[in-house]
Symmetry: C2
Subunit: 94 residues, 2 copies
DNA sequence: GAAAAACATCGATGGTTGTCAATGTCAGTG
DNA sequence: CACTGACATTGACAACCATCGATGTTTTTC
């Protein structure tokens, strides 16, 4: 694996390598319509709103979550295939 | 996903969420006999021996690599199934 | 037993990260 | 236009992390 490819992959793995971000992905994927807004996510995690926004931004920047603003709310959903691609990388070296 | 489970998983993801550690896993899995010693790994990564030992220890502590001392050499190999388990976690939320 | 080779550990340092309080932005409401 | 509610952004701080040089440990060789 090239150094450049490793750096690229590590950015995505870093994004999910946090307990609260893992829970965010899990919460969103199991939500109604596979999407959720920030106000639905602060309570289950026990974190403040700025902190949750911060984590969501990291996941969006890594290409794992998609953000869609509808009115006052921001809806987050999984980017199709993003996690599967990462899973595939791990599966190669079994 | 429970907070405890998320914390447990995040520790393993953190272990591989580093470009040099990703390359270490890749190098080891593609080595002869799927194992390698430290002296084989420093040159391709361009890192010092203490740094490589440090990264390998993190991967061993996370349950991803296995360490076997034979004489003066320490041989590192993949723990069977460890990466597949992580890949499975990512596959669940597609 | 002295020397060398392979690896681990220690201490220090610069950089990164998770969290929060405070503040800013923007859409809807009356 | 003032007000409220949902989010994003900023600044600050403590904790953590990757790297390195120096040193310790263990095994093999002479």
């Amino acid at each position: 694996m090239s150094a450049a490819r490793a750096l690229e992959l590590s950015k995505q793995f870093k994004a999910i390598a946090d307990p609260n971000r893992l829970r965010l992905v899990s919460l969103i994927s199991s939500s109604d319509g596979s999407e959720a807004c920030v106000c639905d996510l602060t309570a289950p995690l026990g974190l403040g709103q700025p902190t949750v926004s911060h984590h969501l931004k990291i996941l969006v920047d890594a290409g794992i979550l998609h953000r869609e603003k509808r009115g006052v709310w921001a809806y987050y959903s999984l980017v199709p295939g993003a996690l599967n691609t990462l899973a595939g990388v791990l599966g190669e070296s079994r």
